[in-house]
């Protein structure tokens, strides 16, 4: 049986790969921003960026986080989150998500959620909600590498 085609299939239903090897480059973010210049119905962009913190755990400083994932499940969860976001904020023009895998050093960027909309309210609310959902629902694992070579497994609270 053919699945029902909805009008917003193109923007919501593709199972995109959000994962990138290594840190997210600020120049990549600039490119992502610049691409929206042709969408003159957009009035507001909201961007969240996660940066690896040099936390001190039991007196030892975190030097990097090594991220891994259960990729198939994560992408399936992400597709569901994306669809729900477009249902909650139908005015949203687009939503871009990237998460790093591999070793990301303190000070480097590991996470980006970028929403655009005609007005700021949708973009703002969507980014906040999507960031929170990704942190809670996506099977992504982080090994905090501390100075001297040990590690501690990170957990979102």
């Amino acid at each position: 049986m053919m699945p029902t085609i909805r009008m917003n299939d193109v923007k919501t239903h593709r199972k995109r790969d959000i994962f990138v090897e290594g840190p997210i480059d600020p120049a990549f973010i600039a490119g992502s921003i610049a691409k929206h210049a042709t969408r003159t119905d957009i009035g507001a962009h909201e961007i969240f960026l996660g940066q690896v913190r040099a936390d001190v755990i039991d007196g030892r400083t975190v030097e990097a986080i090594e991220y891994s994932t259960y990729r198939d499940m994560a992408l399936e969860r992400m597709t569901a989150i994306r669809e729900e976001a477009f249902t909650k904020w139908p005015g949203m023009t687009c939503l871009h998500v990237h998460h790093s895998l591999g070793t990301i050093k303190a000070g480097e960027l590991c996470f980006m959620v970028f929403a655009s909309a005609p007005h700021r309210q949708s973009a703002r609310e969507a980014v906040a909600w999507v960031v929170d959902r990704i942190k809670a629902d996506l099977p992504i694992f982080g090994k905090e590498i501390v100075e001297g070579g040990g590690h501690i497994w990170k957990r979102n609270t």
Partner: protein, 82 residues
Amino acid sequence: MRRTIFEPMKVLLFGLIAERAGTPTLELSAASTNELKVRLAEHIEGLAALTYAIAVDHRMVIGNMPLNGHEEVAVLPPFAGG
């Protein structure tokens, strides 16, 4: 076609759980997720002290759930994305 519990199935392990098991996959026989937890504890030392969840076909399992051996089963430590 009902599968016997003696056929092993492949269980995916992640993060801290994979580290403790010393492997990213285990071959185990279990007719339910509760039985799977017992089998896992036999293979992974100190598992009882760890927080983990079972995902079946990419969905988190709450409570017990029967397994037919054709599901994709994974053992997940706490998430740390973002």
